[in-house]
Structure formats: structure tokens, C-alpha cells
């Protein structure tokens, strides 16, 4: 039954990947990641049928990591939601350093500007 398990695992993993690629809701993407982890767990269990119980131990580790990840990740999502009132990842791009509709998409120039202008988005800390 191990080849079948690996087959299921591959399909589930790919479904998780496609989910991550096609969704924008942070929580759903999170769930897709959990699905991918589960797919990998299935592989581990399949391999533990072939190579011994260590595979099950890895599954236990994956589960604890997933639990930790869920705790922290959901806390992050709550914090983001409080700030942005949304969990749509389209609107969450602070990693870029400035917001997408900022009229001054360059931090240096942003600092140099003399006074705040009403047209600024106010979402990056230099524009605010």
C-alpha cells in the first residue's frame, strides 16, 4: 500500500501548492500550507512501513512544528488584521518597504520631502 500512499501524498501536496498559488486570503494560504505538511506526513508514514518507526517520529516533529507555526502565524495574522482590517495578501506588502500606491516609491526622496502632502497614502512610516 506504500506506492498508493505516496501517490495520494503527491496529489495532496500539489493541491496544497495550487491553493497557495491561487488564493489571496492569508488564512486559507495558511491552511494550504498545513495541507502540504499533511501530505508530507503521509509520505513519512508510508516510508515508516518500509524503513521503521523513525518516520512516525518525524511526523510527530512535523506536527509540533505545525502547531507552533499555527500559533505564531495566526497571531501574526490577527496583528495584521488589526492594522489593515484585511487579511488579503494583495494589500499586505510591507516587505517591499513602501506601499504599492505610495506616490513616492523611494524611501530616500520620501525623507527629503519638506512637508506632508494630502496625497500621501500614509501607510509607510516615512509617509506618515
Amino acid at each position: 500500500m506504500v506506492p498508493e500512499a505516496l501517490f495520494f501524498s503527491a496529489i495532496l501536496f500539489v493541491i496544497g501548492v495550487v491553493g497557495v498559488l491561487t488564493r489571496r486570503n492569508a488564512i486559507i494560504i495558511f491552511m494550504c500550507v498545513e495541507l502540504m505538511l499533511n501530505a508530507v506526513n503521509l509520505s513519512f508514514i508510508g516510508f515508516s512501513r518500509l524503513y521503521g518507526a523513525s518516520g512516525q517520529v518525524f511526523v510527530i516533529f512535523v506536527m509540533s512544528v505545525a502547531a507552533a507555526e499555527a500559533a505564531v502565524g495566526l497571531a501574526i495574522i490577527i496583528a495584521i488584521f488589526r492594522h489593515h482590517e484585511t487579511v488579503d495578501l494583495k494589500n499586505i506588502n510591507l516587505l517591499k518597504g513602501w506601499c504599492s500606491n505610495c506616490p513616492w516609491p523611494n524611501r530616500v526622496e520620501c525623507i527629503r520631502l519638506p512637508a506632508p502632502s494630502p496625497s500621501w497614502c500614509g501607510c509607510c512610516r516615512y509617509c506618515r
Binding site: 495532496l12 486559507i28 488579503d88
Partner: protein, 170 residues
């Protein structure tokens, strides 16, 4: 070793149910419904684990994933009140979906090619008399003791991190 028609039938049943549930989960617009389909997938996976002689892992799969992690997901969804109404069209455009599907299929093809290797013979099933937790104690508490202990630290860090992140600053 439980083999034969019933066993295989159930194995395929659970596997296919898991896949179908996962597919439905990915396509649901409603976050709560999606989460429930994912729970279903996890149940089926727990059944698969038990059918592959990993009963302990099957039990904690239900306990941890379905009973704890997904409940927390649901909790957050409700806390943020995201499910109703489906205001955010959080599925990307058709073009993006098609490209993602193509990439997914490519990955699936690659994975299946890789999975077609010669596998060694399966190990014999455990005799019913032994406790199901016995076989994983040896690797868990001897071979991988250090990772196990580090996991506890990780969980502690996660707890503290979650509290700090989610705490409302006054």
C-alpha cells in the same frame, strides 16, 4: 497482516476522499467551509495512518490537527469574522488559476516520476499484543532525543511569540 479486498477498498476510499476533500477545500470561497473540508481531509489521513500501522500517529493526527490546530483556525476566522459574507474575492483571476494549475500538474508529473522507484519490501505488522506506543519510543526518546527536547523549546517560544503578537497594546 490485514490484506485483501476490504482493506484495499477502504484504503482507496479514504485516500480518494482525502484528495476530493482537499480539492474542494482549495476551491471554497467561504473560509469556514474550506476549513471543514480540510478537517475532513485530515480525518481521512488519520484513517490512512491507522491502516498503515501508525495508530499512535493517527490518534494524535486527530487530536492535534483536527482537534487543536483547525479549531484555532476556525477560532481566528470567527474572531476576524471573515466567513460571512464572502466579501473578499480571494481567489485570483482565471489566468493566474490556469498557470497555477499548469505548474501544479508539472509538479505532480515530476513527483510521480520520482515516486516510481523500486521500493523495498514492507515491514511485518506489529503483533497485536504489543502496545502501539512501544515502537516509536525508541527513536523518539533515544535516537532523536535532542530534537525532541528542542521541539519543546520551539513550542515554548511559539507560545510566548503568539502571546506577544496577539496582545493588544494599550
Amino acid at each position: 497482516m490485514p490484506n485483501g479486498f476490504v482493506y484495499e477498498f477502504l484504503f482507496y476510499l479514504f485516500g480518494l476522499t482525502a484528495i476530493v476533500s482537499a480539492a474542494i477545500f482549495v476551491t471554497r470561497r467561504n473560509a469556514v467551509a474550506a476549513a471543514l473540508w480540510l478537517v475532513n481531509t485530515m480525518f481521512c489521513l488519520a484513517a490512512l495512518y491507522i491502516m498503515m500501522d501508525a495508530q499512535f500517529v493517527g490518534a494524535i493526527q486527530v487530536l492535534v490537527y483536527a482537534g487543536a490546530i483547525m479549531v484555532v483556525f476556525l477560532f481566528v476566522v470567527m474572531l476576524l469574522n471573515l466567513g460571512l459574507p464572502p466579501s473578499v474575492a480571494d481567489i485570483k483571476s482565471k489566468g493566474a488559476r490556469i498557470i497555477a494549475l499548469v505548474a501544479g500538474l508539472a509538479m505532480l508529473a515530476e513527483l510521480l516520476v520520482l515516486a516510481r522507484q523500486k521500493l523495498p519490501a514492507e515491514l511485518p505488522w506489529l503483533p497485536r499484543e504489543t502496545s502501539v506506543t512501544t515502537p516509536i519510543t525508541e527513536p523518539l526518546f533515544r535516537t532523536y532525543l535532542l530534537p525532541f527536547e528542542i521541539t519543546s523549546v520551539l513550542l515554548l517560544v511559539a507560545i510566548v511569540g503568539a502571546v506577544v503578537l496577539a496582545k493588544r497594546r494599550s
